[in-house]
């Protein structure tokens, strides 16, 4: 590098650092309106028209009310799969806050099925309680045998296991349930095959608070 190029390079670098520093450290962090590349929306030109303003207000309030009408009017169940909590809520009130276990996210290959897999996630979205059971028995699906390296039994009676799901179960479709567990030390962790596990006390409360048709929102 010759004697002229080096000072030029240093000056250029200094200028770049100065510009970057001005932007990063002197621009306010949370001032959205001062963002140079944000083209903010402009207000309605002649907003002095009271009638137009009242019309806008009425429209906004009507839409707000319509949105509220989609909200559950009675109790609903909310499941936070990231933090493994289950809530029963009515409007803004929390009726129950329970530690749960939800899907592990682990995958298991289906043997001889061309690359198909089971993915043990708790499904997301809105569901409803479809069934309420007492003293449920577990009819083990194929994956419960395959993951243990066992052969899937041909006799359906060999799939039944009692006393592992607690005293109650609430089904919400496609084989997913809210049920009890023998592994209460694992509550609060993502360890299930998709179902939602609770301890005995919380499970009983949920069973009593929920009805068939109660919404279940899972995220």
């Amino acid at each position: 590098m010759n004697g002229f190029a080096r000072p030029t390079l240093l000056v250029s670098l200094a200028a770049a650092v100065a510009i970057g520093g001005w932007y990063l450290f002197l621009q306010p962090d949370t001032d959205m309106a001062s963002n140079a590349s944000t083209k903010s929306l402009s207000s309605v030109g002649s907003a002095s028209d009271g009638t137009a303003l009242r019309g806008l207000q009425a429209r906004y309030k009507t839409l707000s009310k319509h949105l509220s009408q989609f909200m559950p009017q009675q109790s609903y169940i909310l499941v936070d799969t990231a933090r493994n909590h289950l809530y029963v809520k009515r409007r803004q009130d929390v009726l129950l806050d329970a530690i749960a276990s939800t899907g592990s996210g682990i995958i298991l290959d289906k043997p001889g099925d061309g690359g198909a897999q089971w993915i043990f996630d708790t499904p997301r979205g809105e569901f409803v309680v479809q069934s309420k059971l007492t003293n449920p028995v577990w009819v083990k699906p194929d994956w419960a045998f395959i993951e243990e390296g066992l052969i899937v039994p041909k006799n359906p009676a060999d799939r039944v296991e009692q006393g592992v799901l607690g005293e109650y179960a609430l089904g919400f479709g496609k084989g997913y349930f809210i049920h009890g567990t023998l592994y209460t030390r694992l509550l609060g962790k993502n360890v299930t095959h998709g179902c939602i596990r609770l301890n005995d006390g919380d499970l009983k409360n949920v069973y009593q608070l929920a009805r068939v048709g109660t919404p279940i929102m899972i995220f």
Partner: protein, 212 residues
């Protein structure tokens, strides 16, 4: 019959529905036409989403928060530390996240006695870029404290975009359609929480800042 009707009327007055009590945007200035128009626009989009059994996002650039919602109910909200927007006027309508951030999932080996660790929030990325349809790039960026090197890199990119924006005022108009960009700076924990909650095809509605 008349008595029943009167009783019902009295009951409906005594117990107002939830709909009368909840306002969608409590911070909204009801005397500002631009805010009302923007709030109404967002509600019109949200009504379409709330009518279906899915979760969706409302990114509120006014209150600087991301809301995970279903049926109009706020399930969880995440604070935005900083937001950067390009082509605000294009952030209308409903966008859909093409794919959630990729996460490596463990696989069960039936022949092994070793148990696989389940996936958890800690497995989620703390910075990522999401493509949405229609065209929108939604980037979640780290803070300087969480990932200093990545922060320097993304901040340099932002400075470069500013320079390009200024340049556009002097140079001939680019023939390519502008692609809107929304960058959200979140704490590591909140970025992971958002990544966890995203699903493929998740709808996103954005409430924009309006001029005062």
């Amino acid at each position: 019959m008349v008595v029943c009707a009167i009783l019902l009327l009295l009951l409906s007055c005594t117990f107002p529905s939830w709909g009368a009590e909840i306002e969608a945007f409590p911070d909204l200035n009801l005397n500002d036409p631009a805010s009302l128009k923007e709030g109404s626009r967002v509600l019109e989009e949200e009504l379409k989403l709330a009518s279906r059994p899915n979760t969706y996002l409302v990114i509120d650039l006014v209150t600087q928060s991301v809301h995970i919602k279903a049926r109009g109910v706020d399930l969880h909200h995440i604070p935005i530390m900083r937001a950067f927007v390009e082509f605000t006027s294009l952030l209308t309508g409903t966008f859909r996240v093409t794919a959630r951030p990729a996460v490596v999932r463990r696989k069960i080996d039936p022949t092994s006695s070793v148990e696989q660790e389940p996936i958890s929030l800690a497995d989620m990325p703390t910075y990522y870029e999401l493509s949405c349809s229609p065209d929108l790039t939604l980037a979640v960026l780290p803070t300087a404290k969480d990932h200093p090197l990545q922060w320097i890199w993304t901040s340099s990119h932002r400075v470069w975009r500013h320079l390009k924006q200024w340049g556009r005022a002097w140079l001939p108009t680019d023939s390519h359609s502008p692609r809107p960009l929304l960058e959200l700076t979140l704490s590591a924990e909140h970025a992971q929480s958002l990544a966890w909650s995203l699903v493929d095809g998740m709808p996103v509605v954005i409430r924009r800042v309006t001029d005062k």
